[in-house]
Subunit: 301 residues, 2 copies
């Protein structure tokens, strides 16, 4: 049993009202793997980096039970770098630069040993690459997928093809509205279910998340934070907590999905409390459990 | 035992993408009273109308257990009229006209019999008038108050004085941000608690509501609606369901407050399904109970 994640590994330079950091470990596959590792290991990571990717990052990932056979290291190439700035209420980043570097040629090849992985997270990459990954899988049990405005606007056909093959789409409220043309989120969610996924999870930031199927509706609270230090990686941390929990119980029933949404919410709530993976590096299981209890109490009536 | 509400009674002309209505019964005190009447009667309404206010509206209010000794009718005067249009996602109304008429001279005088009312709702009127009402009360048990951008911007001193004397402030997210200068809603809520109220309830439309005290946090889901027909009166219907339920149980403990927030949410969710009071006119207790059960199920994890 394992989880496979295909996405980015990068070095982020981020400015927020709280401070700044340069060339810090980041990328969707890294946030996802770290978050998932609190619940389930091993995690098989498929991504690409350059020869400038520091050994300490490799060591960190290995320490979290992340298997790196699928991490291609391109000699003479440079790792993906992203620079962004958050201002005001930290809801949206302004991209300062995007140096795709080796990530620009990323064409995920799954090691033979990875093809039978049951739990799959297709992080926010070109939907044609997401499809290419699925073509290499032999027995996926649960496929969870992310996307973003870029692909919704520019690669809609491939995205719709991908959505026809995944079990769960996780996206944020703005993306759900853009994808469907529906401003009402309940209608947007129901529309997405007609595209293929059995379930859609719509993240709403400080307003929590909703999880919809044809016959179920779950409203998850946000964890009540008074400070957001750096929102980078929150979405991938959510997905990691979500799928990590599901893999740990080996059960994607409605009851388990709801707990998974809450664990995703909680890991994301910690992740935004510091730059990069810093908060997750020092996060303990008992801290996670306390927030879980706090949220249970917060919705009780 | 009774509930007192001081606010507006008016005739609304509303256009939405779903249709339009002219000179329909409306006003904060009317939405509040009708919503509260599902849980508790009698309700003592203090407001002003002109001699054009139709007998059928008086009869409707009486049929809901609303006592009208405090409804002043000005001979030769005209009733408050408001015209508005909602477009797109119906989040904000464009005001087409506001004819204050007799409401422009409103100076609430409480009949002697009303001064001992234990439950008080100060609807969204000038905070100087809200203070004037409080000066006339002899034994309020629970004072709930609403406000709006107009008073936050233009009557801040009086508003702060009112807030120093109320138990619960109910307002929406935009108003909470404007009132406090805090974009983070948890921080905004905590700031409001320093202004006087023991509790603040922040309504977030499709994202539900939160209720905060110094030591408690409640996250209430929105009722998942696929269509909003007309949002007019939703906030006052929320307050009516909220305070009506609290008066019915005679208990403002955290557990009862949470149920009250849910009942407020539910009455508001019905109110937006038709123009004016039309949905509330045909609403049954069993319909309310079904949505209550649905919301309990929706937050369970």
């Amino acid at each position: 049993m394992s989880i496979l994640v295909v996405g980015s590994v990068g070095l982020d330079s981020v400015e927020t009202p709280c401070g700044k950091v340069e060339n810090a470990l980041g990328g969707s596959a890294v946030y996802f793997s770290t978050a998932a590792s609190f619940f389930f290991q091993p995690i098989r990571l498929v991504a690409v980096v350059g020869d400038d990717f520091a050994q300490e990052h490799v060591d960190f990932l290995r320490s979290r039970g992340v298997k790196l056979e699928g991490l291609e290291q391109i000699q003479g190439g440079k790792t993906f770098r992203w620079g962004g700035r958050y201002t005001g209420d930290l809801n949206a980043a302004t991209t300062l630069f995007t140096d795709l570097n080796v990530y620009g040629e990323f064409d995920p090849k799954l090691p033979e040993t990875h093809r039978e992985t049951p739990y799959v997270f297709l992080a926010n990459i070109n939907p044609e690459l997401q499809l290419g990954v699925l073509r290499q899988m032999t027995a996926p049990k649960l496929i969870v997928c992310d996307t973003m405005n870029l692909w919704i606007n520019n690669s809609r056909d491939a995205l719709m093809q991908t959505l026809g093959e995944v079990d769960i789409l996780i996206l944020n409220d703005g993306e759900a509205r853009l994808l469907t043309g529906e401003s009402n989120l309940i209608r947007a969610g129901k529309r997405i279910l007609t595209y293929g996924p059995d379930r859609v999870v719509i993240k709403k930031g400080e307003h929590g998340a909703i999880s919809l199927t044809d016959s179920t509706f779950f409203s998850a609270p946000a964890y009540p934070l008074e400070e957001v230090f750096d929102p980078t990686g929150a979405g991938d941390s959510f997905a990691g907590g979500f799928l990590g929990y599901l893999a740990s119980v080996g059960d994607a029933s409605e009851a388990c999905i709801r707990k998974a949404v809450i664990y995703g919410t909680i890991i994301a709530s910690f992740n935004v409390e510091d730059f990069s993976l810093n908060r997750q590096r020092r996060l303990t299981r008992s801290e996670i459990d306390r927030r879980y209890e706090h949220l249970q109490e917060a919705v009780l009536f």
